[in-house]
Amino acid sequence: MAHPVDQSSGEGAPPPESADRAAGDPFAPLSDRFMRAICDHVAHPIFVKDREYRFVFVNRALCEMVGHSAEDLIGRTDYDFFPREQADFFREKDRQMFESGVPVVIDEEPITDASGRRHVLATTKVPLRDETGRATHLVGIIHDISDLKRAEEEQRKANLELADALERLRQRNASLHQLDQLKTEFLANISHEFRTPLTLSLAPLEEMLEEPRSASDHQRMQLVHKNSMRLLNLVNNLLDFARIESGHLEPTFVPVPISDLTRQLSASFELALSKKGIRYEFRDELAPGTVAYVDPEVWQKIIFNLLGNALKYTQHGRVGVRVRRAPGDAEAIAVSIEDTGIGMPEAELSRVFDRFHRVKEGRSYTYEGMGIGLSLVAEGVRLHGGTVHVKSELGAGSVFTVTIPLGSAHLPQGRIRTHQLEGLWRDGPRKGDILVPSPYPAQEAVGADATPAATRQPLLLVVDDNQDMRDYLQQILKSEAQVLTARDGLEGLEQARRLLPDLVISDVMMPNLDGFELCQRLKAEESTAHVPVLLITARADLPERVRGLQSGADDYILKPFNPAELQARVRLQLRLHAARQQLRDHAAVLERTLDEKSRALRHSHEELSTILAHLAEGVLVVSPKGELTLVNHAAIALTGISTGTIDEWAAQVELSTEEGERLEGDSLPMRRALAGETLLGVEMRLVNASTRQPAWVLLSAVPLKGERAQGAVCTLHDISRLKESERLKDEFLSVASHELRTPLGSLQLLSGVVRSHLADTALAPTVLPLVERQQRLIQRLNRLINDILDVSRLKLGKLSINPRSVELGAIVREAVERARGTIGIRHELVVSMGAEMMVHADPDRVDQILGNLLANACKYSPAGTVVEVATRGHDGMAHITVRDSGPGIPVELHERIFERFYQVEASMGRAFGGLGLGLYISRELATAQGGQIWVESVPEHGSTFHFTLPLSNG
């Protein structure tokens, strides 16, 4: 079926819709052909069925799929080509489409084609409608999704396999990890188990070696010692290996003078080398003070391993250490360890740094290793971001060169410390780190460094569950201190509490209570917190150490330890403890001083109380709740009350204002002070609650400020006496004025009577002037009394001024009129009145000012001259002037004449009398009424006194 289906073949084709359209469509024949061509070239099989489910159209792809020609297919149904079951399925779907009239989609239908191949089809069945909307035909478009389904299936299987593989991998990984952990733990445990007995045998052995013995004994013992040390070395290497494996080797880089460090580390081998008859050389070619960032511990491992190897494989000649700038890299240093040992074959050189690799060709296997030393070196150098190389010639020697970069930029930033920790790398090599055929070389140095502990024999508590260990520790530490022992953590805790030792030395792994817990418990208790704890641990890995320090341990030492090192550390701890004790003593002294200070403070508080008690001022302290918390003697004496609330207090003393208003509740000054207000020197009246004596007080109430609300303090200053004396003074003034004026009044009247009797007598010409003079003197006396009274009242603030709205003209006229008959009797008094003006003033006081001004004018100007009084309104003020024809006043005195007791000229004053109070009083009065007073004057041309008064609004 390789040809396109012919459009004309078979009944029912072309589809009705196309036929209908053809009628009105000029492109109908063309489009029909087009459509067929398109359909034949579409890869999807397409068919059209009529309502009898007969094929009326099929495209080429369909023909290929079913394996029949179009001629075969047209007019037939599915039952003619497909197995019945399948045909039933197709027919059901077709029927569904015709019935519902909507497209039907069959997602997946498996069919078997003509050639027996299975396909998976997805078919869309769409209705074709006539003009009435009835579905007359069915168009089926088929997607062959067989390939897709196959691909999907394959993908699914592949995914499953992958997941399976991943799971297997994960499991393997997990078990590997577990194995790894197990291995690490195993190694760590082995180290623990090995090192404890090793320590126990090595230490007494070393002591025995010190003692004089027969040569053969000594030799045998040295053999024991040598082999023990070898064992220890193996254990240590195993341990380091375990640490690296478990990832616990976390380096901390510090800046160190690299030559010095390397020199010190290398020097540890000098003795061992010289004992073997090997020459040791150290060459420092670096600039002095060159600093490199290294982890001192790792660096020690590198140097010790390389030197250890050199020592191991060299029987004669020399071993040299050389520190210099790396050749060809100014930013790096190189440390070379050169030996004249057995050397290595060329072929081995590339593998010497591999783990567990051992050089096979070697003449001497005297000292076996496990082949991890150099891999540790390589790892250590790698941690420093450096490289290690080896050059070697079999039988001539080897040169190992370690190169590390200078600076710290190449190192992980989180692991850099900028400050060198003192003593971190000065301890010398750890026992067993290297094979040394002699007792520990650093022993003397450490011993010499130590100073005797405090004169008092310190007390040590050794806590260990191992009897041997206890005995051993007791033995090596008895020279340092009195040593007591406990068999486990619990016993140790109990003893430590009871004895308060100067140091507790405890094993970590113990039954009941382990070393960490013991340490924690000791540090948690106040009485024992200061007791230093030194933990002995075989677990050399870092987390354990951290745990040791976190538990509060002051120091720790690893098993196996060198007795000298332990002694040194113990001495250090004892010394530190003694120093701390001293500090504590010092603190106690400080505390005592503080105590004294606080006593002094208490004393000063007592002083304050005494002062308060004897203060004449009444003092009341009020709590924030309004209770009286402190009432001093003066306050009690004044009020008769010593306790209670301020409300009770105020009610009993009948506290009231100057105006007589009773105070209670929130209006109480103390309440206002509690609310944050400050009242100072408010005059108040109160009644003593017990004596019922009234008293006047100046009351101040101030909030007490502190970190928290502290209430208020209220002071009462008794001004009763002041008030009394004020009242007395007032009374005196009244009495004085009354008593002085009364006889003066009589005198004045009598003198008038005498004068009028004399008028018509013969004596008149001689006596009358005397009487008149007498009258003037009486008037002067009268004015003087008035002035003195006014000044006194001014000073007391008692001068009463009662301004009201008054007509100015009347006051002026009356004053002038009065002056005409008295003071102005010899002058011509002229009044020049402006418009009628209402002023806001006290008429008596205005009269007084005018009287003073007129009296002055008349006093200082020659008889017969004019004194003019004028008024005018100006700028909201009444303006009054009094002009005289006197000698005038120099300008520099224009202000001074208004001062109290100032007189223009003393001689003048005496002649005319007066104390110079008039102008002072006038100014006070004018000012008090809202006016002003001043003088304009030119000497020889008279003076003009001005004064103003506010015009009345009404």
Binding site: L733, S734, S737, H738, E739, L740, R741, T742, P743, L744, G745, S746, L747, Q748, L749, L750, G752, V753, R755, S756, A759, I778, N782, L789, R793, S800, N802, G821, T822, D844
Partner: protein, 138 residues
């Protein structure tokens, strides 16, 4: 100082005999008669008699504020209770007290401050009493 009619009688309420003597001399120059009351009690007694018609009715009361027994204010208030006296006889307050003017004003009465001149006294009397009282020539 000649007069045809009796200018009347003035009741002087004051305990200062010297002053009252001098006042009497001055008032006599004006042909006024003077009745003395050296205390508040005396003054009220005299006015009581006036009220019942047993004594001559004064044309003016010159009242000092500071009396030996009761205050001038009290005398004034009590005399206001008396029939034919209260509100019927003019009163002028005299005082040498510092607050005399204020006290007089609070009573609503004219004030004659002590010490006073003859003219001051005569002017006051003239204003309230009958007759052509003439101030003495000066």
């Amino acid at each position: 100082m000649r007069t045809t009619t009796d200018p009347g009688m003035v009741l002087v309420v004051d305990d200062d005999l010297d002053l009252v003597d001098a006042m009497e001399m001055v008032l006599q120059m004006g042909k006024c008669r003077v009745t003395r009351a050296p205390s508040g009690k005396c003054a009220l007694e005299a006015l009581g008699k006036v009220a019942v018609g047993e004594a001559e009715r004064p044309c003016l009361v010159l009242l000092d504020l500071m009396l030996p027994d009761i205050r001038g204010e009290e005398v004034y208030r009590n005399m206001q209770e008396l029939p034919a006296v209260g509100g019927a006889i003019p009163v002028v307050v005299m005082s040498a007290m510092v607050d005399g003017a204020v006290r007089a004003r609070s009573l609503g009465l004219p004030f004659l401050p002590k010490p006073f001149e003859i003219d001051d006294l005569l002017r006051v009397v003239q204003r309230h009493c009958r007759g052509d009282l003439v101030p003495p020539e000066t």
